[in-house]
Symmetry: C2
Subunit: 123 residues, 2 copies
DNA sequence: TCCAATGTTCGATCTGCGTCGTACGGTTCG
DNA sequence: CGAACCGTACGACGCAGATCGAACATTGGA
């Protein structure tokens, strides 16, 4: 019985209300940083659990739910209900508009990898 | 007896070896974020204690020393010995070259302030 | 030489948060 | 309806890190 569609839709903050300190705190965690990078690589709506298998992250589903909530509250991702599961996606354009260069930075700097010496030259 | 000048000089990591996760963790703390903004506003070599009085941050000197070390290890600031005191400065050009847009982002987004209007939906 | 001022280091404390297990709610299908 | 699945909410636990005070090192000046 489909009486009323209640809270099925998940809301995220308007991009204008997102503050940079919240974003930095959200990205400071290695699991969430990896998660955001994976979402960026995926490009479109992805199941959160699938991100775990792709990245090799091993955490419980409650922990995953917690991280997704932190990222959503920070305005970085959006959640959509798809039947029995929930899909998430990176709010790339909005975030890049409010914090220019931030996501580009994450994309270019591979996970926790320092540049291999050679101060001059190379790129 | 002034024998040898030992470790008076303070060293910071080469900018190429700085990883983005360390930088994000360093900036995730509100005290350090305020500190970096103040250094950016100052523009040149500044005494760490003076930053506290400028920003109104009230922490002990040992805590301040700790935060400065974290920021220095993260490659964000540089420390110079000046007689009885130590001066710090933001490595603006280097950081901006390695992480384009990062410091500009901090500069434009005032401390923990969201955009005033929320066009759609509110709350 | 002695003392004041500044900053680092060390140990201890305490809060925040990442983590998990369990219980609960919603959805799909038999 | 009931069972299986997926995700969230809640409480508890443990650890990393933020904080402080005290002791020490260094410098500069009385």
């Amino acid at each position: 019985m489909a009486t009323l569609r209640l809270v099925t839709e998940v809301t995220e903050p308007a991009i204008e209300t997102v503050t940079i300190d919240v974003v930095l705190s959200a990205l400071a965690d290695p699991v969430r940083l990896t998660f955001v990078r994976a979402l960026d690589a995926a490009g479109d709506w992805t199941c959160g659990s699938d991100v775990l298998s792709k990245t090799g992250i091993t955490i419980s589903k409650s922990t995953l739910s917690h991280h997704i909530k932190v990222l959503r509250d920070a305005g970085l991702i959006r959640t959509r209900v798809d039947g029995i599961r929930r899909l998430v996606t990176l709010r790339y354009d909005e975030v890049e508009r409010r914090f220019p260069g931030l996501l580009t930075m994450l994309r270019e700097h591979g996970l926790a990898r320092a540049a291999p010496e050679a101060p001059t030259s190379t790129a």
